[in-house]
Subunit: 381 residues, 2 copies
Amino acid sequence: MAVSEPGVLELVRRGHEERVLRLLGEHGALSRKRLETLSGLSRSTLSDIVGALQARGAVVASTPEAGRRGPGRPAEVLTLNPKAGQTVGMDFGHQRVHVAVANAAQEVVGTATRGYARTTSWARRLELACALVDSLRADLGALQGVGVGVTGAGDARKQHAEAVVEHLAERWNVPVLIDNNTRLAALAEMLRGAGSGCSDVVYIRLSHGIGGGIVVGGRLLRGALGTAGEIGHIPVPDGPDARPCSCGGRGCLETYAAIPALLRDGGLPDLPAALAALEGGDPAVRAVFDRAGRALGMALAGVCATLSPERIIVAGEVAPAVLETAEAALHRHLPPALHHGLRLHPASLGDEVGALGALALVAHESPLLSGYPDPSRKDGS
Amino acid sequence: MAVSEPGVLELVRRGHEERVLRLLGEHGALSRKRLETLSGLSRSTLSDIVGALQARGAVVASTPEAGRRGPGRPAEVLTLNPKAGQTVGMDFGHQRVHVAVANAAQEVVGTATRGYARTTSWARRLELACALVDSLRADLGALQGVGVGVTGAGDARKQHAEAVVEHLAERWNVPVLIDNNTRLAALAEMLRGAGSGCSDVVYIRLSHGIGGGIVVGGRLLRGALGTAGEIGHIPVPDGPDARPCSCGGRGCLETYAAIPALLRDGGLPDLPAALAALEGGDPAVRAVFDRAGRALGMALAGVCATLSPERIIVAGEVAPAVLETAEAALHRHLPPALHHGLRLHPASLGDEVGALGALALVAHESPLLSGYPDPSRKDGS
């Protein structure tokens, strides 16, 4: 029997804590007796667990005056502490950091952003981000965790992830969860944006590169090897001579539909010039964007056949110029029984989407709740 | 508060039962005291739950003689009842049914198969399958459920699924779970075949059609709209003039790598002739199979970029003839950071794979354990 492993009982205990917090989150206020019934925990176990949660400020006991019936002491109820359980989200892009703070009810109580140079060190980026959080003057008295979005996937992300986690965990003494910021954007769009009400979402962002994030059953998909959601590197060659991609692969979607490819193919200086040419009806530029749209539609057809998502969300500066062509290509490549009439939805959140996703990472993806291993350890290792 | 909904307490109770069964399955034998600790359930709740499980014959109490220490009554231990909790699996192909029976330890105690004509009615197919199960003379005294694999996806599967579920549920008075038989094969290969030890598996079968199944985190992926895993319909055109597919889409993998496409492209009468021509070094036939292999590799590159699986398994009569080319194409289309050096593994189970997967559907995919809705209701509805 493997029950004597060290840590098993601690895991069991953390599981109980999560269960109690989840029940209080779902039901609002519960008496101890009701919590006992719903959790199935023994009175003594529950008493230990609730005591620890109260000591940490996560749970509070109160005595509602209304609805008091009969003589004797009114029944005490337990609730999540609305003033506790804050989360901090940070999204480190190539040239700016966004931070956001949420209260226990997952209401965003403040956001801020600050630019930096591509060459800015990680030590300095962290300093700027922490100063931004301080500037929001939010109550972080019962901080539950910090979520962090960073660029890159696999080993590229791993390089700075460890230092970031260590720095922030030391500063606040709370769990720090880290993931790719495009994945976090997918989570945020599902919870607060264009995927609201859905739990199976494919999110793709068309910008200087093409990234993606996939939510299955309300959870971020990371994949066994940590690189799930790299939709920009799905091969969609338009002929046998597949273009080489900067990733080292061939025929990737990114070689058709990312900004550098579009500018090169259209002989254009920058995206505003490209969009102006489209606006002016330039047929050569239209052809370049239409090819990108068809490539996107083909990649998404493959994703649909593989995943059967509920909603597809397309973000990034390029999105509006290719959405229509891509949707038509998606519907041309798949039969109705597989595309289910899915539309391509434009993303609805702004540049703060990554920081909002980082908040959600903490609130929704606690390793114990989600059944995933610690995301910071899935990082290509 | 939503706690007064009818059924909540019953769900809670079933959740407790599942937890107890899972702990006993993981640990083998447990004392009541140890089960109390690991489950976190109160003594009285646990006593209720164990009593009900004993009454149903799912759990037995025994007193091990060995290892007895000290005076007094030896400690009683609880185990899953090895004679109870049988499962029946059935796989209805186009021209034959396979059945399998497993005991509570998920050991297969018998399998059988029987052919029928494509035109055979569903009533007759069910009759044949039930007679086959009877012929195995297995003890079904504590049957836990019946898993059924059928061909087709979405609406095509839905047409007969309801009648099958109704017939079998009435005959045995147990839950009946139904899914696509290629998906079930994916589950079986993960548990007992080429995916053994993995929990994130992509399975693809190349035959008269091309089907697939995806397992993520040990669970079958069905997708929000029920059609996940249709890898045969990923578009992989080799030029702008994508071939129309029988599904109604264009450029699907199936138009290159399924048996009918290979025979047509090679001008060949049947697969044995095609394989003999390959064996004999016929360059034109080799070229046809290599194109199919490249198309497969491209489709799997897209699946890898999307899902980041742990293992890829390729089944079906066509598999051996395209595996090498497909693996090379997969590695050419993706960078190492995304293909992770993944190989293509040949499937290792025989034609009984679907029936084994149907057993696994019951044992591993109980709706309560998996968090999925009832799979029979995900059937394109």
